[in-house]
């Protein structure tokens, strides 16, 4: 418990510094928001255009696709805001920066994440939340307490799966020294998660359920909200999140254990 309080205080300290950095470079902040909105939107606009012309994809209407996209983008934005330095693992290892974290009395993983925040992502997240509300209204869904609870569950589990996968694949940098390519490949795969998985062959669907479970950050929860799927997702999603989280935890710890520093 004391340890937990310590990490809460520490996290607040890191957020303070992150916020100060943000205020140092206002122009950079604006450019960052625009570029991130464009990055997420580029893939999305393609899908929406096809769906608009064809009047939907498979049995998915355009608003259902919007809902799925907004879920996917919200989770990514949270990841960018708080856990983006998972992408820095490779750099930290190559530069021997991990040495500095290893001589301090706190978990190096927390220190790693605390090095880099993108609070700007919370602003772009507002855009996606707007899109979510818009699609829910257009789909005439009944907004109930259960639905809000499910969304809260999704935010936690979805973020864990999304950022956890990034941690897993970026941790390969501990052994490969140049492991970023694989992590970028995984992120590219994530583009598929912006489509309704039901339009793809079974093998694809299984891949995005059991191997890289990106299905849980968009398709499955959207399908549940749209009434295309049963309630089993409510317990499947935390299971997937725990699996990914566990593997990410193990990979990181194995990585730090085999860390050999650099020759300085």
């Amino acid at each position: 418990m004391r340890r937990l309080l310590f990490y809460v205080r520490l996290w607040k300290g890191y957020m303070r510094i992150g916020f100060l950095i943000l205020t140092q470079y206002p122009a950079d902040t604006v450019i960052w928001i625009i570029s991130m909105l464009l990055r997420e939107a580029s893939g999305f606009l393609g899908v929406v255009t096809i769906a608009a012309v064809a009047g939907g994809l498979g049995n998915w209407s355009i608003y259902e696709i919007c809902l799925m996209f907004s879920l996917c983008a919200i989770v990514e934005a949270i990841g960018q805001a708080f856990f983006d330095n998972a992408w820095g693992i490779g750099h930290q290892v190559r530069m021997g920066r991990l040495d500095v974290m290893l001589v301090r009395p706190a978990s190096p993983f927390i220190q790693l994440l605390g090095e880099c925040f993108h609070f700007q992502a919370l602003i772009s997240m507002m855009v996606y939340v707007g899109l979510l509300v818009f699609s829910v209204l257009k789909m005439n869904l009944h907004v109930s307490g259960g639905m809000l609870l499910f969304l809260a569950e999704f935010l936690v589990c979805g973020t864990m799966i999304n950022s956890g996968l990034y941690v897993i694949f970026n941790s390969l940098n501990f052994w490969l020294v140049q492991g970023n390519d694989i992590a970028v490949f995984v992120q590219t795969c994530r583009e598929f998660a912006k489509y309704p998985l039901s339009v793809f062959p079974l093998l694809f669907r299984q891949f995005f359920t059991f191997v890289l479970p990106f299905g849980f950050v968009g398709y499955y929860p959207a399908a549940y909200l749209a009434g295309k799927m049963g309630a089993s997702i409510v317990w499947q999603m935390p299971m997937a999140a725990l699996c990914v989280g566990g593997i990410a935890f193990t990979m990181w710890h194995l990585g730090v254990g085999s860390y050999n520093s650099t020759g300085t």
Partner: protein
Amino acid sequence: MSQIQVEHLVKEYKRKKNPEGLIASAKSMFRPEIETMQAVDNVNFAIEKGEAVGYVGPNGSGKSTTIKMLCGILKPTTGSVRVNGLDPFHDRMKNNKNIGVVFGNRSVLWWDVPVIESFRLFQTLYEIPEKRFKENLEKFTEIMDIAPLLSVPERQLSLGQKMRCNIAAAFLHDPQIVYLDEPTIGLDTESKASIRRCISKINEEEKTTFIITSHDFQDIESLCRRIILINHGKIVLDDNMQSVKQKFNQKKQIQFEMEQNPWHNGEEFICQGVRVMGTTSHSLKLEYDLEQTDSMKIMTAVAKGSEIQDVNISGRDIEEIIRDIIRKDNHIKRSSDVM
């Protein structure tokens, strides 16, 4: 028991052999040839509380590797390290509370924010009580002379100012042991001198144990009373600075400037324990053994033959002594490799 106890410490690195030629390189992607390198090879020493120890050696001798094992960054292959009775690798968090590390080649402060913000985060990180933090902040800003820098972001500081802030940061949590890895690397002589002054002041006042690695022997000479020399992963010398100088400084050089050098192109200057290093028509350079003779005897002998205008006596400094020891050690290693 000593504060730091190192016994039979070994660190091996496995390294992929890089073969020559494209075909061989392609083969090695699938079946790499691994060679083992002993970066640290059976090292033993003990350091008492409050000691200031210079840990020196040429590049690639294993000094950084040893320091990293002492701080718990690297896991020893075999052997043991005990710091305050703890194993720094397994009890890393506990050990980290008691140590401070200064990396000469990388800063631990946040680049974009005022220095004081970094210090505040260290307060949280090391759980320093507010009162203690204020006292230490005041004390070390005064010693390091960084009071005007606290409100400046690190990116606007010079290298010397950055280093001073980094050193102050390492002391905020009252560490018992501080590792300084090349604390003056890349600094000009004035900054080096001021950093040395500050460090020795802290050592005197706080009785903190210091372990310093540096390639600048003036650092070592002015800060440390004991020197440990490592070469090819093995300790070659572990002794008091003063006795190293005496033991290895048996020869001195003496140079005379004179009206006319009677020993130039004539008969040789002969005196017990003296060797002629060089002569010109106006100067004479000699090397003499302190055990056999002394400078007064030589001067008298020279003054008999000519009129001395100027004398210059020089002993070898610690850097030359160390260079000599390493050269001899490398020679022994090479000849034993051949056998």
